[in-house]
């Protein structure tokens, strides 16, 4: 009996460690992807794109472990919530990895074009907020810190507000000079990807709240994105 209890605990710890590992890879990928865009560094972009594989396989490992734990251990309320939450967080992390990889791909496409400094500063500002949210929400997960998760949840409106502003600026550039359209479209999708990363961090925050409190967050999700959905919600290159 003692033995079973112990290795069950050990499995829970392992689940946490795998998620933390996955989080570390995603944090690195996001940082590298944006840096490759900002500094026009195709080598870094390729590295970032390649790193996505390790993230995908960790997600599979987490899924397998979690499912087998549920099947073998039939965990009760709290533990079940924990395991299911880990599964959900891993899913959001995998999506963040995809979105980040997509930024790296775009950076390859625009590496040779010159671009206005102010646009890059706007995107950098967005990326910084997204990286901060990702770090904080992962920290919140590991410490089961509901307060910290809620802060991330609330901070998403900042990313959305920035996105709206960057979006407008990009449109202005495109209208000013049609030659900017190619570059600006790539940057627009890049900005959209970051904004979506913020949404996934928000999802993770909600999951943490549910995991810690045992009930879902009831407020409406913070939503500050007021741009038209028609133009940019269907980035063809995003899901792969």
């Amino acid at each position: 009996m003692e033995h079973t209890v112990k290795s069950y605990e050990a499995e829970l710890v392992q689940l946490d460690q795998k998620l933390s590992q996955m989080g570390g890879l995603v944090e690195r990928l996001l940082g590298d992807a944006f840096a490759s865009l900002e500094r026009r560094d195709p080598r870094l972009a390729s590295e970032a794109i390649a790193a996505d594989q390790a993230i995908d396989s960790l997600q599979k490992e987490i899924e397998e472990l979690a499912i087998s734990m549920i099947a073998r251990r039939q965990p009760m309320a709290g533990d079940l919530r924990l395991i299911v939450s880990t599964l959900k967080v891993a899913g959001d992390l995998e999506r963040i990895g995809d979105l980040a990889k997509n930024i790296a791909k775009r950076s390859l496409a625009v590496a040779s074009e010159s671009r206005p400094q102010s646009l890059i500063l706007g995107l950098r500002h967005m990326a910084e907020l997204a990286m901060r949210s990702l770090k904080n929400v992962l920290d919140a997960y590991m410490t089961r810190d509901d307060e910290k998760a809620l802060k991330v949840w609330r901070a998403d409106t900042d990313i959305d507000a920035l996105y709206n502003s960057v979006f407008r600026e990009l449109l202005t550039y495109m209208m000013e000079d049609p030659r900017n359209i190619g570059l600006c479209t790539h940057l627009l999708f890049g900005a959209k990807n970051i904004e979506r990363i913020g949404d996934h961090a928000t999802n993770i925050a909600e999951t943490i709240h549910y995991m810690v409190r045992g009930k879902p967050l009831v407020d409406d999700r913070p939503k500050g994105d007021k741009t038209s959905v028609t133009l940019i919600d269907n980035d063809p290159g995003e899901r792969n």
């Binding site: 946490d16 460690q17 570390g24 940082g31 500063l121 992962l138 920290d139 590991m142 410490t143």
Partner: protein, 438 residues
């Protein structure tokens, strides 16, 4: 709960003497690696390692003089006996592994075989804000190579070295040396991690590059204007007294703007340089705000603007850098005067706020000016971002004021909040955590 409760790891190590010996040996081993970082660090580490080793041998800290008997042999000439000096009772506190680590001026962490932090000294907690004893090391950094290095030390018992590049909350580069600590029954029981912050050096190079890029870019326009005026004054307007007066006035204000730009660029570089170092001084907020308002009285008067202070609280101490905090208030209040209406009213309010268990002080600067359109608000803190280029230039702005504010506030673990409504006015508020030890 999967997060194990903190176990008294250090107590588990065999007799404090041996545990200290182990750590001293670890520190000494790392000293070799740290030698590249500069002699002073090496010396401190070596000295502490020596002290700890001495303690293990029972030679120092407690004194080792023999029995207090008079051991002088009889002598034909009567001389006063020579006594061994009396052992001075030690007043040093019990020397523990913790106290040794806490004395180290370099960030030092002990992680056990389950990746749980057993001890982290103050410098380490300053580097990694989220880090806490009993919590997973991943709260410091989840950098994949860092976890791999810990794993490697635990399995091979060899030392490892990794370079860490952290991007948030502030960019920094750290050189981490990891070495094994022996466990009770042999084998590696824990990993001693000593960090060296290389951010400063890298930042210096980056700062120079940024500075030159920005300065040359931003100075080009006013310089071109100056040259234009000079040429006009030498040529067509040579004998035009009225034009000369007017041009000289413009040239004067353009050159002032150029020197302000250089000042602001330097300030911004300085704060960026120190972004990764927590401030060490103390600042009293209410008095500082009062002084700043007084120093801006001239400028306010010129605009016909009234600046009032509404401080419903007494002294409020924060951990901070005085000059930086002054600059925050100067920039915010100056903006409110500059961009507010002529003959308007600027209200500065100091108040307390509580958030969970922590207490903060809030300084809000409210003007009754034209306000700022919503889409610009999140961008204002970006360097050189201006709502209206022309208006900022006319008012002698550099576009760096709020970027500096944001950097200073972040370094002080504070918050900047901007609230504005078109046609009503704007509120720029900064919030700083109170230094509760005061």
């Amino acid at each position: 709960m999967p997060t194990p409760a903190p176990r008294p790891f250090l107590e588990r190590l065999p007799g404090s003497g041996r545990s200290l010996g182990a750590i001293a040996a670890g520190v000494a081993a790392l000293a070799g690696g740290l030698a590249a970082f500069g002699g002073d660090v090496l010396m401190v580490v070596a000295a502490l390692a020596g002290a700890a080793a001495g303690f293990v041998a029972g030679e120092i800290w407690r004194g080792t003089a023999g029995p207090e008997t008079d051991a002088t042999p009889p002598s034909p000439i009567e001389l006063p006996p020579v006594r061994a000096p009396r052992p001075v009772p030690s007043r040093a506190p019990e020397l523990t592994a913790q106290s040794l680590m806490d004395a180290l001026p370099v960030p030092t962490i002990i992680v056990d075989e389950t990746f749980v932090v057993r001890h982290a000294n103050r410098p380490a907690r300053d580097v990694f804000m989220a880090l806490r004893e009993g919590g997973p090391i991943a709260l410091a950094t989840r950098a994949p190579e860092f976890a791999r290095a810990i794993e490697a030390v635990l399995t091979d018992g060899k030392t490892e070295r990794v370079l860490l590049h952290e991007r948030v909350p502030v960019e920094r580069r750290l050189d981490a040396s990891l070495s094994p600590l022996e466990a009770d029954g042999g084998g590696v029981g824990a990993v001693l991690i000593v960090l060296h912050d290389n951010s400063e050096r890298d930042r210096l190079a980056q700062m120079r590059a940024d500075f030159i890029a920005h300065a040359s870019h931003e100075l080009r326009t006013p310089l071109a204007a100056l040259r234009g005026f000079i040429e006009t004054l030498q040529g067509p307007a040579r004998n035009d007294a009225v034009a000369r007066e007017r041009f000289l006035g413009i040239m004067g204000s353009e050159s002032q703007r150029m020197s302000r730009l250089l000042d602001d660029l330097l300030s911004l570089s300085r704060v960026e340089m120190r972004a990764h170092l927590p401030p060490t001084g103390e600042v009293e907020i209410v008095e500082t705000v009062r002084e700043v308002i007084e120093s801006l009285a001239q400028i306010a008067k010129a605009q016909g603007t009234e600046v009032t202070l509404d401080a419903a609280v007494g002294n409020r101490m924060i951990r901070g850098d005085h000059d930086e905090i002054v600059q925050v208030f100067v920039n915010l209040i100056q903006n409110a005067i500059k961009y507010g209406n002529k003959g308007g009213h600027v209200r500065v309010t100091v108040s307390d706020i509580r958030s969970g268990a922590s207490a903060w002080v809030r300084v809000a600067v409210t003007d009754d000016g034209p306000g700022i359109a919503e889409e610009h608000i999140p961008r204002l803190v970006e360097r050189f971002y201006r709502v209206d280029d022309k208006s900022s230039r006319e008012k002698g702005g550099t576009g760096l004021g709020l970027a500096i504010v944001k950097h200073v506030v972040t370094r002080h673990q504070g918050e900047l909040r901007i609230d504005s409504r078109l046609g009503v006015g704007s509120t720029f508020a900064v919030e700083f955590p109170l230094d509760e030890s005061k």
